[in-house]
């Protein structure tokens, strides 16, 4: 017996390769070796993927050493323990797949296999260097970061705001709801898809160990969710219990779960009430030029809306509103009636719009969430408020489907 049989070792990585075929392009050990290592050389995930790479290259001793280093730092990294078990067992008997523990529920092995697959898939992803999620049309100046979650890739991406243009910073492995995405009902154990923001921070002292190093609630259900009759509450970004380094890709009750170290790193970037969290079932990455085209058309439209409001020509103003408009309390007819009544008493109106953010809403329908600080002044009334509008693409034009105070 000299070392571990090649065949047995390839079973570990090979099993993953075959299974990932169904989910995307073929992953050969070679491509794994080339791509994975370059993208994320550090961190626990970089290490475990490095181990897979070493196994694929038949450098078993190096893989062992790397695993031991990884486990010395993260002894609760269960996936790494599983791979270690396989490498050891391969020296005692042929193994055929990732996870060869006998006499345990297959479900628990499958959870770890899923995690391995998810982490490998993440490493094969497009490097978001020169491309951006199509959702990030415009960040408000005060928004230092934006977060985009791609549930199909078990990934949370962090973007930094540089003069309104998002720049990729890092990404993390995340766990989402047991039953997947598109949350609709209380208790459906799904993760919502939409544009949200971080609303608060729950003190660790008040949380159970289950939430790990912290919890940040997000604004589900938002205006659009409520309009669609979605309910439920308590969707958080949170950490991981102490007894495990990470959780399987689909295991939460709908929350987005990070490892404690990742959550701690992320929490330093979060601004309560400001940081957008966009959760998508599959992110489209587009060139900045594509983003700016959509951004310009939307900016022009919002500017037209602002000018039309200042013109006190209610008809011109109302052309920006969709037939299905709702303010949450008023439909389009009621809204129109109220605006006419208000405008009748105005001799002048000045509207300033600032701190604008614009995000496309995940999903098939073209929908944009525009949030801004509105400074309204008129001959008899003035106020400053933060406002949110949901603009829906109607043919060539953008129309407001919802408008309300934030």
């Amino acid at each position: 017996m000299r070392g571990v049989s090649l065949l047995a070792v390839f079973a570990v990585v090979g099993a993953l390769n075959l299974d990932t075929l169904a989910m995307g392009p073929k992953l050969s050990p070679g491509s794994l070796a080339g791509k994975a290592g370059e993208r994320r050389p550090e961190g626990a995930e970089g290490a475990i993927v490095g181990v897979f790479r070493l196994i694929a290259e038949d450098r078993v001793a190096a893989a062992h050493a790397e695993l031991d280093r990884l486990l010395a730092v993260n002894p609760n990294f269960r996936l790494a323990q599983l791979v270690k078990g396989d490498l050891l067992l391969a020296r005692a008997q042929p193994i055929h797949a990732l996870g060869n523990a006998a006499g345990v529920p297959e479900e628990r092995l499958n959870d770890l296999r899923e995690e391995a697959r998810a982490r490998l898939l993440r490493q094969r992803g497009e490097t978001p260097k020169d491309r951006l999620p199509r959702y990030l049309l415009k960040m408000a100046p005060q928004q230092r970061h934006a977060i985009v979650v791609d549930t199909s890739r078990s990934s949370l991406y962090v973007f930094e705001n540089r003069d309104g243009v998002p720049h990729y910073v890092t990404d993390y492995y995340v766990t989402i709801g047991k039953n997947g995405t598109d949350k609709a009902r209380e208790g459906d154990k799904k993760t919502p898809l939409g544009v949200y923001n971080v609303t608060g921070s729950l003190p660790v002292a008040k949380l159970g160990d289950f939430y790990g190093s912290g919890a940040f609630p997000i604004s589900y259900p938002n205006e659009w969710d409520r309009r669609a009759g979605r309910n439920g509450h308590g969707i958080w970004l949170h950490g991981t219990p102490r007894d495990t380094y990470s959780r399987p890709p689909r295991a939460s009750d709908g929350c987005v779960v990070l490892t404690n170290e990742d959550l701690e790193a992320l929490s330093r970037r979060l601004q309560l009430g400001a940081t957008p969290v966009i959760i998508s079932g599959g992110v489209d990455w587009v060139a900045e030029s594509d983003l700016s085209r959509v951004r310009s058309s939307l900016e022009e439209t919002v500017e037209a809306w602002r000018r039309d409001w200042e013109s006190r020509d209610t008809g011109r103003y109302l052309r920006h509103y969709a037939a299905g408009f709702s303010s949450g309390t008023m439909n389009l007819a009621q809204w129109a009636e109220q605006k006419r009544a208000v405008n009748a008493g105005k001799t002048w109106v000045k509207v300033k719009v600032g701190e604008v953010s614009m995000f496309l809403y995940p999903g098939a329908e073209p929908l944009a969430v525009v949030t801004f600080l509105q400074d309204y002044q008129s001959n008899n009334l003035g106020n400053v408020m933060r406002k949110r509008q949901y603009w829906m693409r109607d043919g060539d034009a953008w129309k407001i489907a919802y408008e309300g105070a934030v």
Partner: protein, 354 residues
Amino acid sequence: MTYPSRAVPGLILICFTLLLPTSARADDFQEARRLFQQGSYPQALERVDAVLVKQPKDARARFLRGLIFTEQSRFPEAIRVFTALTEDYPELPEPYNNLAVIYASQGQDEKARQALEMAIRTHPTYATAHENLGDIYAKMARQAYDKALQLDASNASAKAKLALVKELFSTRASVVAPVKGTIPEPPVPSPAVVAAGPVSPVVSAPAGATPPPAKPEAPAAAAASPPPKAGEASRSKEPADPQAEVLRALDQWVKAWSSGDANAYLGAYAPGFKPPGGQNRTEWERSRRERVVKGKRIAVQALSPKVTFAGPEEAVVTFRQSYQSDTLKTIGSKRLVMVRSAGRWLIQREELGR
């Protein structure tokens, strides 16, 4: 989850006339060994110490001393003895193997692993060390799985039970019976030395509580006819020939093993089969089913089988067993005592790794 315990090979009782220049010392040593086998450890120790006073470097006496300490659970002393042997005779795998057994019994798996790797470094084909190493790796794997799946941690603390080697030079052609006047080869350890000449039937003395194996009556009956090559046995055209029948049974057993047909494999054993090492039958069958599985790439061959009859219903088959899997390659001697039951030859007793 209990860890499948390894079959401990029966005590090997073949006398080595090796390293016994004087008959007086030989007598002392034999006496010490006899006492050890009887379980009279303090007396055995006294005798061994007497031998060592005269010949402090005597490897076999020191080895026996280590065995006595091991049996007495005087592990630190046993470790010292075996460690010293590995230092003085780094080419001998047995002391490494037994060190590993003690370390494993104390849960020091990493040390056990290192010792076994050393045993294999000196003797790449040393089957016992390979099997022990396999068990250590399997156990370490199990611990990792327990952590991966958060299973009851008490499982992880189960000790691996490895096979203790009770004879120095056990890797050598140890099935050679002590024929008077024959001087065995010098104990230069070399990989996979297997007896080249015709193999005589083995005469084993009782080992501990194990019942004595069938005693072939006429050694001359051995290899009465030219031994067929492995694989040819089943092609024999003489169904009435008991030797051919035995060889056919052997062939079927080998094929069942190689193909991972656990039912056929276990079906080759007689109802009265005594699993080695005092394991009970159920335990043994379970551990065999774990190893004899379909889809596993195993090639087992029985090379140069020789049949001796101890009676019309009882035969002793000796052969060189070649075992090859994805992870393990061994060649060793094997001895099967087979009994005829309802027209079939079944394995009553199986001895390996000698």
